[in-house]
């Protein structure tokens, strides 16, 4: 399914990106001459085995790592370091334990120097969106893993980014919570119309959420494949076409 492009906000262009690390005295090419365009409002899932460079790619997009060569353009502007048009949701919620849920969600606007009342009003809106209104004054240690992760999501949304970068955001959750949260992410995306780049090792999650799945192979030199997911939303995991899509992806990884 294609998203109607009314604005060009949140468009990503990746141009010849390479990155290598030194490991035990050897150069390890994690990314090699990667080229990719991500449409405004698209959900792109990046899947692949551990060590394929998917998290490195996300961290470069976030501005937390610098590529060896190549560049990333967001709405035609090159990325240098972190930027307020992007927000990242990590695998761990990374909440500040001394702040309440409200304080944590308002944190992004707070550090920008927005007025406290404005930041809290905005934060309350997104706390409602992730269904935590009753826990506004709770401290992080009082929350379950799923709730804490939702706080992290609300915190990222509160700064109203054009691009949401998600680094295995549901990886640490149990199977049931995970499914609920996947549905929630889908709903948030429909309401916020934000470009989402989702790194995951969960193929079902990728098919459930994404417009396009980028398959990054473990073997260096093997080509990165891009697969369009042409399923209607909201998607049904038990539907035939969904299952076929999943099978095809598994096949891609040499699994059956």
């Amino acid at each position: 399914m294609s998203v109607v492009e009314t604005t060009r906000r949140g468009e990503v262009a990746i141009r010849g990106l390479s990155k290598s690390f030194a490991l035990n005295g050897q150069r390890l090419n994690v990314l090699r001459d990667l080229r990719l365009d991500i449409r405004s409002g698209e959900i792109l899932a990046i899947v692949g085995p551990s060590g394929c460079g998917k998290t490195t790619l996300l961290r470069i997009l976030a501005g937390l790592e610098v590529p060896d060569t190549g560049e990333v353009l967001i709405d035609d502007t090159p990325v240098h370091g972190v930027g307020t048009e992007r927000a990242i949701i990590f695998q761990e919620p990374r909440l500040l334990p001394w702040l309440t849920v409200l304080g944590n969600v308002a944190f992004g606007l707070d550090v920008r120097g927005d007025a406290r009342t404005y930041a809290e009003e905005k934060a309350r809106h997104y706390i409602r969106l992730v269904g935590l209104t009753d826990f506004e004054n709770a401290y992080p240690r009082q929350l379950s893993g799923g709730m804490a992760q939702r706080v992290g999501i609300a915190r990222a949304l509160t700064v109203q980014p054009e691009i949401l970068l998600l680094d295995e955001p549901l990886g640490a959750l149990d199977a049931m919570t995970k499914i609920t949260m996947q549905e929630e992410l889908g709903r948030i995306w429909r309401e916020e119309k934000v470009t989402m780049i989702l790194v995951t090792h969960d193929l079902e999650e990728a098919i459930y959420l994404a417009d396009r799945v980028l398959v990054m192979p473990k073997e260096r030199g093997a080509s990165i494949r891009s697969i369009d997911i042409d399923l209607n939303r909201p998607r049904d995991r038990s539907e035939n076409r969904f299952v076929r899509q999943r099978k095809a992806l598994l096949h891609d990884f040499g699994l059956h």
Partner: protein, 280 residues
């Protein structure tokens, strides 16, 4: 910090306890609580009093508690001991205050800059492991027998717990939280103010509590060695003059001072670290 399920949260549990119990039950529960906590202490005091009265122990060395209380009251009411308390508080207060004012900012600075911390750590460890009392003669040589050397020896001993706790607190701050703050565009100063500083508070408060205990310890030692005023001097002086009830009175006064200081800091800890579990 680990994430706990809402059901096992201490806050929630306490709340349910309060809501669930009947007033009568609550009172007995409270009584049992007090008894289990202070029973042994009361028993000890009773044993002391009875042993001294019946002569199981030599009452001229262990006077009964009422004699101690009377001696203490007399000394305080006549104003004799008040001046000593004041000067003791002044000595330890100035030293502790100086250690806080110097130790916390220095520790925050050192903890942030790895190379500074690395370079200073060995010498800090050496200073810390050298008993401040062993250095007291050196301080007397340098600063004379007056107030300055006494305050300085207390300052010296209290500085290190605060400094090392602060450095430790800053170093232990989760790098992932700092990275999170950076992704929202926080500057170095903002990261420091909004993440590093609050994250270090529990460690700093633990350092303050350690230091407060050390301050009183060193105060007494310094006053016993070369002073003619102060509670430590009074303990020693009463013993020389065989005013044993007064001696014990001064000792109890010191204990009360220590307990008060600790209570103040525990309150501070509760207030500042409500979010964490380091309330010991």
């Amino acid at each position: 910090m680990t994430i706990q399920s809402i059901d096992t949260s201490p806050l929630r549990r306490r709340h349910e306890d309060r809501a669930g119990a009947m007033p009568g039950q609550r009172l007995t529960a409270m009584g049992r609580d007090v008894l289990s906590r202070y029973g042994l202490l009361v028993g000890f005091l009773v044993l002391w009093q009875v042993s001294a009265k019946t002569g199981w122990v030599n009452p001229s060395i262990f006077p009964p508690l009422d004699a101690i209380a009377a001696a203490l009251w007399k000394a305080l009411a006549s104003g004799r001991l008040v001046g000593d308390v004041a000067i003791s508080l002044q000595r330890s207060g100035i030293a502790f205050g100086a250690a806080v004012v110097i130790g916390i900012p220095l520790g925050l600075f050192m903890g942030q800059i790895r190379s500074v911390e690395r370079a200073l750590d060995p010498i800090l460890q050496l200073f810390r492991q050298t008993s401040a009392l062993a250095l007291y003669p050196v301080f007397i040589l340098l600063l004379g027998l007056g107030e300055t050397s006494k305050i300085f020896v207390i300052f010296w001993a209290t500085l290190f717990p605060i400094l090392l706790a602060t450095i430790g607190g800053v170093k232990e701050v989760d790098a992932k939280l700092i990275e999170m703050a950076r992704t929202f565009g926080a500057s170095r100063l903002t990261v420091f103010r909004r993440v590093v500083l609050p994250a270090s508070v529990p460690a700093i408060v633990v350092g303050l509590r350690l230091s407060a205990t050390t301050a009183l310890l060193l105060l007494i030692a310094a006053e016993m060695i070369g002073a003619n005023k102060g509670l430590g001097f009074q303990v020693m002086n009463a013993q020389y003059n065989f005013q044993i009830p007064l001696m014990f009175g001064a000792i109890f006064l010191l204990a009360a001072l220590g307990l008060t200081a600790n209570a103040v800091l525990v309150t501070l800890q509760r207030r500042l670290c409500r979010w964490s579990e380091v309330t010991r």
